[in-house]
Structures are given as C-alpha cells and as structure tokens.
C-alpha cells in the first residue's frame, strides 16, 4: 500500500471532519476530547458510553453530533419502568383485519441516544446491548437488520446510585469507548455563560451524510498500522494482564482482571480513526495513547485493595503508559 496515495484519499474523504467539528462547536464549548472521541466512535463503528456528572453537556454533545448528520436520530430516556418492547418494537393487533402488525421501536435509527442507561432495569439494558452487538433485532418471528451507520451513544451519571441498575462488566465491554467528561475550564465556562445567557448560539447545520461516514469508515480500515505499533498495543494490553512482566509489580495486587482481546481490537481501530482525524495514512504511538484510557478504563477490573487505596483503572492505565516503552 502506498502511503502517499492513502494520504490523498484521506485528505479527500476527511473534508467533512473539520465541518463537523465546526458545527458541533456552535453548541458545545470546549470538551474537545469528548467530541473527538465521539467522532472516533463514529468512524470505528463502535458504540460510546459517556460518563460524567449532570450538566456537562453529555446529552447536548450527542444531540449536536446527530444534528450534524443527515441521518435518523432517536433519543430514549431510560427509566425504571421502560420495557424491552418500548425500545425494540412489538406486535400490534389490528382490529379491522384481525391481524398482527409489527411496530418498530426507536432502535431502528442511525443514532440512538440512550440517556441515563443505568436507570433502566437489566432486561432493557440487555435488549439494547444485544442489538448493539448483533446489529439486528427480532420481533416475533421476524429478524430485522439495523441500518448502517448504527451507533449507540449512551450516558450515565457516576454519582447517583440510588434507583440505578449498574451495567455489568460483560455489557460495558460492548461499548468501544467509555469517555469520562470533566468540568470545563474557567475560560470555557465563561463562553458557555455568555453563549446561553445572551442567546447567541447558532443553529447546527446537517452537513454530513450517512454515505460520508460509510466511505470514511472504509478509508479508516485501510490506514496502515506498522508492526511496531501493533506490538506497542499488545504490550499495553498484556501489561494489564501480567503487570509483573513489564516491571509493574506494584500493579499485580491492584488488577483483578485485565483487558480483553476486544480491547486490543478497539485500540487498533480507535488508533486508526485517530490517525484519520489527524489526516494521516498511518498510525503513530500517539494515536494509541490518546484513546488508550477511553478504550481500556471499563475493561480493567480493579481489586478491593485498589479501591481501598482509591486507585482507579485510569491511574493503572497511566502507570502502564508511563512504563511500556514507546516504539
């Protein structure tokens, strides 16, 4: 593969990226990392879970992203009384002709905003996560393939635990990225204040088509990833499983289980998408490092000892990145 030709293809197919960022910035101030990672999810065909305290524009960011797209968008507010049929659809009895007809649920859209996913009971979460994995839904005897692109962007609040149903590890693993959103800086918050108190926010234009995304995804797949970078990814993932092999003995008692092979795949795909966003036809270690925490934080389980020492998976990933040699 000729990198020069690939670079030219990327330059051509990634023109919408700048427009997309520009349009989103009309509604979202700062949070560059979050917006960038949402685009990584979009390009890598991976679902995204956003976690942050209330009021950090999680829902707004996803709504803005979907507004930029000329695609179907559905917002589902997850509540404790939500049923799988409310999400997937059901059979409706038609009294006129005495037949049952299928009524498709809101999941039959390109972009799904699963707001506060941890507020719905396990059966609803499970129905959504199954659709996320299989990309198909079965209602009665009929199986329907979901449209492409199909992307689930879910939010959850980490501080309120009462009346919530935390997602099990196996189901969180279905999300390619778990993005943690932090507070904006002082300058950013000033901008937010001025933008919303003076009502100077602009309308977001739908500038990106479904075809743009599908074409971009094909280019992303072709991005070159050198064996040195592949080894780097493997080293990072294996360091979560056998930290002692990488001189990280202090982590042995802190990790109860390490990242799965799905983490390896998502690291490689995510790094390719990052390279695409940076208009590069090849992956550099920087791409891997920039998405590493988002790909791995929900795939590493920490031990009780780590929790007692207030060490979370982010701190463990940081230690690993500081130790594993960059190619």
């Amino acid at each position: 593969m000729d990198i020069t030709v690939l670079n030219e293809r990327i330059r051509k197919e990634s023109e919408f990226i700048d427009v997309l960022f520009h349009e989103i910035s009309k509604a979202i101030v700062g949070q560059k990392n979050m917006v960038e990672k949402l685009v990584v999810g979009l390009l890598s065909n991976g679902h995204v879970l956003l976690e942050g305290v209330p009021g950090l524009a999680k829902t707004l960011a996803i709504k803005s992203l979907s507004s930029v797209m000329k695609a179907n968008f559905q917002r589902i507010q997850f509540t404790p009384d939500l049923l799988p049929a409310d999400l997937l659809g059901t059979l409706i009895y038609n009294q006129k002709d005495g037949n049952f007809t299928i009524k498709k649920g809101p999941i039959f859209s390109n972009f799904i905003l699963a707001d506060e996913i941890n507020r719905a009971p396990a059966k609803v979460q499970s129905a959504l996560l199954e659709a996320m994995q299989e990309r198909q839904v079965t209602i009665s005897d009929t199986t329907f393939q979901l449209d492409e692109p199909f992307l689930v962007l879910a939010t959850q609040n980490p501080i309120e635990q009462e009346g919530t149903y935390p997602l099990p590890e196996a189901q969180v693993d279905r999300f390619m990225l778990k993005i943690k959103i932090t507070y904006p800086s002082k300058e950013e918050e000033l901008k937010i204040m001025r933008m919303y108190t003076n009502d100077i926010s602009e309308n977001i234009n739908a500038v990106v088509t479904k075809e743009d995304i599908i074409r971009a995804r094909k280019v992303v797949k072709d991005i070159y990833i050198d064996e040195k970078v592949e080894k780097y990814i493997l080293d990072i993932v294996f360091a979560t499983r056998n930290p002692a092999d990488y001189g990280l003995n202090e982590l042995t008692d802190l990790i109860s289980y390490g990242a799965s092979p799905r983490a390896t795949l998502n690291l490689a795909n995510g790094a390719k998408s990052m390279a695409f966003i940076k208009r590069r036809g090849y992956v550099v270690p920087e791409d891997v490092r920039s998405i590493c925490a988002d790909v791995m934080r929900h795939r590493i389980a920490v031990t009780y000892e780590a929790e007692a020492q207030e060490i979370n998976s982010d701190a463990i990933i940081q230690k690993i990145l500081n130790k594993v040699e960059v190619p």
């Binding site: 593969m1 990198i3 050198d226 590069r280 090849y282 920087e286 190619p327």
Partner: protein, 315 residues
C-alpha cells in the same frame, strides 16, 4: 490429753482385720480426717497361704463417694508359707462430707478346688473438712522468694565464663579486622557522560552503514533511540516511554531559548516516525541528514545543559 487418746483410738478403729481360715484381709486409711483436696490413701493388705489364689476387685469403682486419682505399685512379699500383698489406692474429695468406704469383698480359691470363697474388710468412716479461714486475721502477702547464698565456687565459675567469652569476642574481632584489611578498596564506577555515550553510539551506527544496506527502518529506529536515551539521561525526561509529540512538548519546557534546535529535533523525529510507522522510504540524502541532525542536536543540547547548569559537562 483424753481427747488426743480418743482421736488416736478413732483412727485405729477404722483399721479392721478379717480372719478367714488361711487368708487375712484388712483395709485402712492413714487418717480418719482429711481436708478438701487432700490425697486419701486407702490400703488393702492381704496375707494368705501360698495355696490360695485371691481375686482383687476393682476398688476404684467400689468407692463411689471419692474421686479416684491413681494406683500405687503393688507390694508383694513372701513370709515363710504365707504371701503378704499390699495394694494402695489414692482418692480425693473436693467437698466436705462424711464418707463411708464400703467393705471390700475378696474372692479366692484354694489349691486345685474350683470352689470360690469370699472374705471382706470392714467399712471405713472418714471425715472430709473444709479449710477454716480466720477472717479476723490480717491479709498476708505471698512469701518472698528464697534467697540462696552463692557459693564461692559458683562465683569463680561465672568469672571464668565471662573471661572466656571476652577472649572469644576479642579473637573474632581481630579476625574480622584482619579480613577487612585484606579486602581491596572498591573501585569507583567510571562515570561516562551521556553526551559521550551518545556520540560513541552515533559513530558506531554510522560505521555499521545500515541504511546503505537497505536496513532503513532499523537505521531510523536506532538513531532515534540513541537521541531519546541521551535526552532521558541529560534532561531527565522519560523519553523512552513517551511519543514524539509528547517528547517535543517536554523538550520545549527545558530548551526555552533555542527555537532552532527544537525545530530541528521536531523534523528529526517526524522523519523518523514516517519511516518507522508509515513505510516511508526517504532519499539517501535524508538519511545522511538524519545523522548530521543527530550529531548537531547532541552538541547543541550539551551546550544548553552546560549553560543551564553553569558548569561544563566532562568530556
């Protein structure tokens, strides 16, 4: 006085002798009065002719009012045509009581006859009392430990022991000193400045002519590694564990006055990344320039470090 005689008489009243034709059995205790917890010795004495075979019963089960402690060894001796056999059983009682030890029945046979005959001892009465405590008396402390006066021999023995220990200690100390004197002083590690290490490594890489042999990727990997190791050693930046972009950010924090060297380093790492990660095949001139840039970086960085430290780096 009359009371004492009566007491002695009572004690011996408990001793009863039973006479059969050729066997005599008697049982008795040492005293008729005991305190709670005292050992009560019950003796059973048999005197019989050699033709008699007595059967000794299980006395410990017969005396139910007392707690059995143990048996003492049986004493047996011959006295002419007779045998004298003495059994002693030790009992105790942990509460005050008036005790009656029932008669002990001894069965026996004579000669070859299978007929079993019996004889028995008499009942014994005992009294077990509580220890009387005089509440009016002053409470006394426990007894002081006994003072044992040391004999002069023990004192001499202690003194000799201490002297021997002192001599042994002196001997071991002098041996250790001799050994220490024989050990050669440790050689101080030779400090080679990172600058010299980097220059030597660059010369070695240049001499190996990697890119000229088509090993372009290996050449770029090694040359960046040399520079990264130099930066790590001289600027205390973990250059081996960070990406080129992060390295440039860290370098720009320590090299503030010379933008030219930063630009040059940026080009150097970007070129190398292209070769390492993007299968980029640079022109031979670029490969040569990489070596020149590497030498130049090390030399300029050394000067910057000297200026920052205010002292010259050795070498």
């Amino acid at each position: 006085m009359v009371k004492i005689y009566r007491l002695i008489l009572l004690l011996f009243i408990s001793v009863v002798t039973i006479n059969a034709q050729d066997i005599t059995v008697q049982s008795y205790t040492d005293s008729a009065s005991y305190y709670v917890g005292d050992y009560i010795q019950l003796h059973l004495e048999l005197k019989y002719s050699k033709s008699i075979k007595p059967i000794i019963p299980a006395v410990k089960d017969s005396v139910k009012e007392l707690e059995f402690i143990k048996n003492l060894p049986i004493e047996k001796k011959e006295d002419g045509e007779n045998v004298i056999e003495k059994h002693t059983f030790i009992f105790s009682k942990y509460d005050s009581a008036e005790i009656k030890i029932p008669p002990i029945i001894i069965y026996y046979t004579q000669g070859n006859s299978a007929d079993q005959k019996q004889t028995q001892t008499s009942e014994i009465k005992l009294s077990v009392k509580k220890i009387l405590v005089n509440a009016d008396e002053e409470i006394k402390d426990v007894k002081e430990p006994l003072e044992i006066s040391l004999s002069p021999w023990i004192i001499i023995l202690i003194v000799v022991g201490v002297l021997l220990l002192a001599l042994l200690g002196y001997y071991l100390y002098s041996r250790y000193q001799k050994k220490k004197a024989n050990i050669l002083p440790e050689e101080k590690p030779i400090y080679i400045p990172a600058y010299n290490i980097a220059l030597e490594a660059l010369q070695s890489l240049e001499g190996r002519k990697l890119w000229q042999q088509g090993l372009i990727k290996e050449y770029h990997t090694e040359i960046t590694e040399i520079i990264r190791r130099y930066i790590e050693a001289d600027f205390n930046i973990p250059a081996m564990e960070i990406t080129s972009g992060e390295l440039m950010i860290s370098l720009s924090e320590v090299i503030t006055e010379d933008k030219e060297i930063l630009d040059s380093a940026n080009r150097f790492f970007e070129n190398a990344d292209m070769v390492k990660f993007a299968k980029f095949n640079p022109m031979p001139k670029v490969n040569e320039e990489m070596m020149a840039q590497a030498y130049d970086f090390v030399k300029k960085a050394k000067e910057i470090k000297e200026r920052n430290n205010g002292v010259a780096i050795n070498g």
